[in-house]
Symmetry: C2
Amino acid sequence: MTADLSKGAAWMNGEIVPISEAKIPVTDWGFTRSDCTYDVASVRNGAFFRLEDYLDRFQASLSKVRISVPQTKDDIREIVHSIVAASGLCDSYVAMVASRGVPLIPGTRDPRQCGNHFFAWCIPYLHVIRPEVAARGAHLFVPEDVRRIPPDSVDPTAKNYHWGDLTRGLFEALDAGFDTALLLDHQGNVTEGPGFNVFSVKGNSVRTPDMGVLEGITRRSVLEVARELGLETEVRPIKLDEFLESDEVFTATTAGGIAPVARVNDRVFSNDAPGPTTKRLEAAFLSLFDRPEHRQPVNYSS
Amino acid sequence: MTADLSKGAAWMNGEIVPISEAKIPVTDWGFTRSDCTYDVASVRNGAFFRLEDYLDRFQASLSKVRISVPQTKDDIREIVHSIVAASGLCDSYVAMVASRGVPLIPGTRDPRQCGNHFFAWCIPYLHVIRPEVAARGAHLFVPEDVRRIPPDSVDPTAKNYHWGDLTRGLFEALDAGFDTALLLDHQGNVTEGPGFNVFSVKGNSVRTPDMGVLEGITRRSVLEVARELGLETEVRPIKLDEFLESDEVFTATTAGGIAPVARVNDRVFSNDAPGPTTKRLEAAFLSLFDRPEHRQPVNYSS
């Protein structure tokens, strides 16, 4: 009998196991120091989307945090394909993770003396902002008293699990009756929310913050389709005041794509509904999934 | 045959297991969002030191990060005693951890819908600064370009695993030939290092930073013995310039106690050796371990 992998599968130490059996030691520095990096790609309709871009970003993150794993980029591509194929999931959220590991010398506090390791897992595709929320336009809360961890503390371009600030913001947002949070940096610029980049539409211009944020692949896709649609794009700091003067606002993430935002704090956008430019961008974004250069079909029969 | 627990033991879901078997799911938000809190107590010479203070701080941290576990403070006391007794370790580093857990509803992004859980583990006692390094006086490096995560991003008084900044600093310190790192905050004040508080001795005064740091129990003990020795204590912001004008510098942590510092960057303290006041404080600190009010002997025969 084969294990049930329909709830998710993981590659751990060379074996494919059900997601519920995929575990790491409680003494792994990936946990006890959040000393790890990761990436999340997606499979939609049986194919990876822009997988090479995710693999490249993951390699860049590994280098930034000085974690070195035995698996090459080719190995990792093969591994993530293999777990999705084994799971049978046609729509999947696919995580690749590299961790500092456990100390190889008991009691050492030297990060160079740990057993760096790689693993990967996949689960059914999920939406950071639920589809029914995206349909009416999400409500974002910007907390006054919680600021995004600055880049000179933790580099947001090396994808990381330092989510304490985002979790604090999320709790405040939920307490206040909002759907999710959007954090400012210490200079008062808009940054990102728990699991998504943000965009502002003003006239013919599509804008997103440049600093203190993850360089999202979905963010990149949005900027590309915006240009294809003849819109201007601006990647630069955006103060909250300017952001609140947007015509439209939306979020972008691998886990859910584009989600329209109808409200930020007490400000209402585009008649409290998804805006027209956001809808055009979303349609254009979704069409990217059909482009052969972005599609890597999963071979489920292997 | 009983499992070998001499390398460490853990309490996981009601069972005591060897430390190497203690694991958490890769999808636990304690890992994927570093959404957890913890504390570390110590057993020296067969007895917990100030265990009630650690238990109280852990309860306060739980409340700050809004994690709720079924185990009461009394349960946790019993659990940590039981794992140390089972391990037979007379000198032990004892961690208690509470994690947000895995989502109870597949795909949810709501931190209120996760299975919060508690676990604990113990390993042989370790020194954040190795005894041979402490004996000559540690060399601390203060990186220019890495700053401690600010309190309005992640609250350092709720003990947490957001160590990305500390790890970056540690790598820079090791690259530069130093033993460990000391981080500044964004205002240029001294904060803490990877796993320790810092102290400055100037004349008759013992000083330690007030903000942006863990409220260490060892730090508290040092302040108490300093007062008992007739020294002044000051808990306030300390700019790097002032810190470098100290007569003596030392670190304080549960995992190793007081460790003298001989150098910070290119500044040499107390003739490049442990200073006299540091030594007096260390002797007084070590004598605290014999005080009945601070000692909870472990019952190894149970």
